[in-house]
């Protein structure tokens, strides 16, 4: 029982009068809001994931044996996988090249990695597992990906495993009769690092020396061998300039012609390729949805206003001024738009949260999806709501104008019920 009478009561009563049609209108607004919100949300999450990846990788250059370019099919940009784990390559150089890299102006940090082997370990992963050696003290590419920071620096007999290696922290892993304790586990990198085991260089050399680890068709791994050196520039340095200095330094050294310097390519493939396609696609879909919905909603608003001519005529006969009638028609549309907008955003957010918990967004987008910050979600939701409210307002402008200017006498006489 409602004892109050105000504009809200009147508007809500009008909406309740046609539940089916208004529900369809709300659904229409919800669809638009969900579309706009989803586009921003997915894009933000995908970009956030890549940005986190870039910030975690931290390397501006990789210094590798020149054969690496051929064996990994390098074509100008370093992939996420290459930067994090170095694509497997049996070619090696001596770690003495780190002396050169460390002395280049603009270089802040250097860290070596050594690829040992890739083998089938079905008890650990359905995919082949790679084994890499890292220098835990200088490493800045792998350990930032740890799900939890290590309790202590990585010691001998301890390893860090990729996300898809089926072992928990503190459990044991056996590789070629060598047993290691899992000291830490990485987040998803969406790269080969997810199925890689990282160990200290000392352990790596011991493992590499074991029987059957390194194929006899390639040169054995000797202490001091490394597969690559990761280089991080000092803050503010231009990576292209530092890369040129590195190349110049190696070209005039004993390693001339043996070493290649790969600059980090910000257009990271294949991850960024997928993301780059998202905005254009979403923009097209959003534009299509809005263009299709706008006349539809305008038609519904016009239909509602036409059906309620008599009612509007009565209001004017009772003394409702034109601005009041205009406001009532617009307000009804706004209530429907806001309701639909909130519903669309809420359902989308819940669906994406559940999908993200199940890891579905990572696999669907082929990137490491990162939930946007609450403030960003609020901003996106606000934008989606603003968009549907704007659509609701624009689409009901003409019906509102027609209603406000109609002759009340004609409206009442022609629509007697």
């Amino acid at each position: 029982m409602n004892k109050k009478m105000n504009y809200v009561t009147f508007i809500m009563a009008g909406i309740r009068n046609k539940p089916g049609r208004n529900l369809a209108t709300v659904f229409c607004f919800a669809f638009i809001a969900a579309n706009i919100f989803s586009g921003q949300f997915l894009l933000s999450g995908a970009v956030g994931g890549v940005e986190r990846g870039i910030s975690r990788m931290g390397a501006d250059h990789i210094v590798v044996p020149v054969q690496y370019l051929i064996t990994t099919g390098y074509t100008g940009g370093a992939s996420t996988g290459a930067i994090v784990s170095v694509n497997p390559s049996v070619f090696r150089v001596n770690k003495s090249i780190m002396d050169i890299t460390g002395n280049i102006s603009g270089v802040a940090e250097t860290s070596p990695q050594l690829y040992i082997l890739t083998l089938e370990l079905p008890e650990l992963s359905s995919s082949p597992v790679s084994i890499f050696g890292i220098d835990p003290d200088s490493d800045f590419t792998i350990q930032p990906w740890l799900q939890q920071p290590l309790n202590a620096p990585l010691k001998r007999g301890e390893v860090i495993i990729g996300k898809d290696i089926d072992r928990e922290v503190l459990s044991s892993i056996s590789v070629k009769n060598h047993t290691y304790t899992v000291a830490g586990r990485l987040d998803s990198t969406q790269s080969a690092a997810d199925t890689t085991i990282y160990m200290g260089m000392d352990d790596a050399y011991v493992l590499a020396a074991a029987e059957g680890v390194v194929s006899r068709t390639v040169s054995p791994i000797l202490p001091g061998d490394i597969s690559a050196v990761f280089v991080r520039d000092s803050p503010g340095e231009n990576p292209d300039t530092v890369g040129s200095r590195l190349r110049k330094a190696f070209s005039s050294s004993d390693s001339a012609g043996k070493i290649a310097v790969i600059n980090r390519h910000f257009t990271l493939t294949p991850v960024s390729h997928d993301i780059q396609d998202i905005p254009a696609l979403l923009l097209i879909i959003s534009a299509f949805v809005i263009l299709a919905a706008l006349p539809l909603i305008a038609l519904i608003a016009a239909m509602v206003a036409h059906e309620r001519q008599r009612e509007i005529g009565l209001l004017k006969a009772m003394g409702a001024q034109r601005k009041v009638v205009f406001f009532l028609v617009i307000a009804e549309s706004l209530v429907l738009a806001a309701t639909g907008g909130i519903a669309g955003v809420s359902v989308s957010l819940i669906a994406f949260s559940l999908a993200n918990m199940q890891g579905l967004l990572n696999s669907a987008l082929q990137v490491s999806f990162r939930m946007p910050a609450p403030a960003d979600i609020g901003q996106m939701a606000g934008l989606a709501l603003f968009a549907v409210i704007a659509i609701g307002s624009v689409s009901s402008l003409w019906p509102a104008y027609r209603s406000s200017t109609m002759n009340p006498y004609d409206a009442i006489r022609l629509n007697r019920g």
């Binding site: 004892k3 009147f10 009563a13 009068n17 006969a317 003394g319 009340p408």
Partner: protein, 239 residues
Amino acid sequence: MIQVSGVTKAFSSKNSEVLAVDKAYMEVKKGEFVLILGRSGSGKSTLLGMLAGLIHPSSGSIRFEGVDLSGLPEDKIAALRAEKIGFVFQFSGLIPTITALENVLLPTLFYHDGPGNRSRAAELLKKVGMSEREDAYPHTLSSGEMKRVAIARALINNPSLLIADEPTSDLDADTEYEIMELFGQLNREGMTIVMVTHNPDLISYATRTYGMTRGKLVKNTASFSDKEEDMGKPKIIGP
């Protein structure tokens, strides 16, 4: 209270022009119960629409409490209507989506919106004998009940003039009597009423009567005097 001076209203219709009201002169004084008698289509509802400012006259003037309505912009007339004129339509004119009480309160959205409205609406519903049905929706009410609610709604802003357009046309005799008694009571309490009807039996309630035939308004008409075949037919002029 109201002075109608030479008011004419013509409606265009295809190749001809229909003269709904033809040079009408009329005066309504405060506290009067003016009855305008006429058949359907005689132009009486058009005249009422002009008195309420819902229709602009083609010529002539209507002064309400000294103010010429034709000189006022639409919103000013709407404000005047909200404050000073209560309108009871031929049909109930209730909004179907809100209760009887809310219907009565509806005009307060446009004037007098205040905390006392709720009690005044309940009081008016009691006055028209509908206090038990204040939470009922219009579709659950009989024609007579709807008309009573419409009368209560017309009175909610305490208007100085009540205009009623054939308020008893679709009611049975008993209900018509009850409604007319209610109008009589309101008039005795000081309410100025202008009502149109086609029922000459209601003349006894009026303090002044007019007859309307083919757009012509005639003063002090006690019954229809025109020839039967002319009743209610509008006058067609030109071309």
